[in-house]
Symmetry: C2
Subunit: 410 residues, 2 copies
């Protein structure tokens, strides 16, 4: 049995403890929703203010050159490349995760003529399924096939154009073996496209070692880039000359400032740019990525696993018999950096927790989801969260009309 003294010793020995002070977090909360929206880095307000007042206000249109706004997609992309184990010229920051998925999915299908299947799993993050369905509705003879995750490898066949999977599942936190599934896709002539939204910054990623083809991911979760931060995309260097983006906007042109009438795809990954980059969001994202890169990543991933394992252990010990069922893999190396428990009244229970300052979130139909961000969550935070969870469940304080009333965003 892990007791509070042990937990405090874990905090005292934590090599990442000082990073907590690099974030601005509200008093009186235990923020376990960094897997939905990461916390605010302490350096972000000044950087955004400088981008607004000096770069925009004083530099005006000249800042496209003088502040290198025009280079932000590649510059920040190269930093994210270090997070995911890619080469600098393989990653761009642009658009949203959904838009980037559309680009790469259509490009992947175009690169595999004669194959018509997008293979994915039911229960994948909705936008992945929806975008895939939209591609299938748009293009002739493209189908979306969903099979349970245990059957994915066996389902890859000569009709498979692309295997589209989320590396860490948004609800369960279950982790796919990226290298093994990518290999299986390649064995059958298919491409693999990975959604890294719940893994970037949260678990070890080495896209080069995994021989990954394509990936997309989110800037506002573990990269702490801010609400609706720009997303990123990865295209392996070996595919860049042949893949074509369907979103052929001017920023992806070979010479956008020649203002010619005919589209010519830009060099390398640049062709996957589309419109004008969102500079305020880029500025905030860059601070988050820079901060992440300061941390020792071995320590970070070790702490991530330790926080999640401690949470599971304490919940199972201290909340036994209170209606919770683990909805994440029990083994630390099979999970991302969040943990889910099912509860029949998950929605009001989560609202009651939030009212007590434990911020997680609810995912339909019955999942309480808790994210553990090693840069700003400590072991005693986990202890206190479990104590409050136990109290909420034990007291039945969650069972009120106010906690049952649904908000627009859950």
């Amino acid at each position: 049995m892990t007791d509070l003294d042990t937990v405090r010793q874990m905090d005292a020995a934590d090599p990442l403890a000082a990073f907590r002070q690099r974030f601005l977090l509200p008093e009186g909360q235990i923020y376990l929703d960094g897997n939905s929206l990461g916390a605010l880095p302490r350096d972000t307000p000044a950087r955004v203010a400088d981008t607004v007042a000096r770069e925009w206000g004083e530099g005006l249109v000249g800042s496209w050159n003088s502040a290198d706004w025009i280079g932000a997609p590649q510059r920040i992309g190269a930093k994210i490349a270090r997070v995911i184990g890619a080469a600098p010229q393989e990653v761009l920051v642009a658009d949203s995760t959904s838009v980037n998925l559309f680009k790469l999915l259509v490009a992947a299908i175009g690169a595999r003529p004669g194959r018509h299947v997008i293979l994915t799993e039911p229960g994948n993050f909705p936008t992945d399924l929806y975008i895939a369905q939209g591609v299938a509705a748009l293009l002739p003879r493209v189908d979306v096939r969903t099979v349970p995750r245990a059957d994915i490898v066996a389902a890859i066949d000569p009709d498979t154009a692309v295997v589209l999977l989320t590396h860490v599942h948004y609800k369960s936190g279950a982790l796919f073996d990226m290298a093994a599934i990518t290999r299986a896709a390649h064995d059958h002539g298919a491409l693999a496209l990975w959604d890294l939204s719940h893994s970037v910054g949260a678990v070890e990623l080495d896209l080069t070692a995994a021989n990954a083809d394509l990936a997309i991911g989110c800037g506002y979760k573990y990269l702490n880039g801010g609400p609706g931060a720009p997303a990123f995309l990865y295209v392996a260097a070996r595919h860049q000359a042949t893949l074509r983006s369907p979103l052929t906007g001017w920023m992806g042109h070979a010479a956008p400032f020649d203002f010619g009438d005919d589209y010519a795809a830009g060099a390398g990954v640049n062709r996957f740019l589309c419109g004008t980059p969102p500079i305020l969001g880029m500025a905030a994202l860059e601070v988050g990525v820079d901060l992440w890169l300061e941390a020792d990543r071995a320590a970070l991933f070790q702490k991530s696993r330790a926080l999640c394992s401690l949470f599971i252990e304490l919940v199972e010990q201290r909340c036994a018999g209170l209606g919770l069922t683990l909805a994440s893999p029990a083994a630390a190396d099979a999970r991302g950096s969040h943990v889910s428990f099912a509860h029949a009244d998950g929605y009001p229970v989560m609202q009651a927790l939030i009212a007590r300052g434990v911020i997680g979130d609810f995912r339909a139909p019955d999942v309480l989801r808790f994210g553990f961000t090693p840069l700003y969550i400590g072991y005693e935070d986990v202890w206190r969260a479990v104590e409050i969870l136990r109290d909420v469940l034990d007291s039945g304080s969650w069972d009120t009309p106010a906690f049952r009333a649904r908000a627009a965003v859950t």
Copy 2:
């Protein structure tokens, strides 16, 4: 001949003169590039700082509800609807102009089965042409047909699915008759899709009166929304139930927070949302739109025409024989809010002007472009800009290797 005294009397009589103080503009510059990137409203830094520090930092994920982040696309869209003469439920703020164009172009083609032509003009803003070419490359049997603007109406025929035009030309400033061309499109069963990037906030727009079908536009020019501000899209209410976005991301789903596996298009214009809205950019854009809505629009459009006409008059008087040729319509009611002059050495001449504090821009191959934003440009600014232009041309001070050296963004 208009003299400086007359110009100063025009400033003294300007009912919009006080708006100049609502912007933070650098000393010593005459900023005539608001048609590329609008200036910084005085209220924007505080609003963005509050969005970062309070809404994100303190409210964290709860701000999707408590700060109505989730409602920003519709809320700001309804404000832009007032600028363009649309109903509140016909406009959304989302993504970039290029991405929104892709959505609406594909939707328009889907709504006109059996028709295969996107009709547009050569020399349209490049991203419009490039996106149209990308759609033609993606979808079976879709072609892009370009005909000179004088021939557009005659070229609309039973093959035309959609007429895609930029309302105010990005280079010449020439204005299309939106109502007449839309009517001609409808007469032949086609849809009209208007790019309003250079007209929103700059010229009178009444999409309802013009019976417009579809439109897109930019947030960072005359709306002063900041670099890479989110763009907007307009779908006439009568088309909303039938048109389908190809970018079927989760934010366009009928019930995104049910997290179901199957896409179902959202109600009304909402189906044209895709990914998570970029909140920092939304906050800055909303300040710009709110500020625009404070101004008397009759006075604003009158001043816009007067500034442009004064510039043309003064250049023709005071820069005669110095190599400039008007590249915009001479008639004020045939123009937007910017004026272009061609010069054989346009690029270095513009760099020399910028070095003297007159900020316009250059558009290939030979165009000097000057934008006149009535909220923050006065008549004496126009006078002084012309004096500096005359001096630069007359002295030949533009003819140096440094001014000829090209920057990444021109």
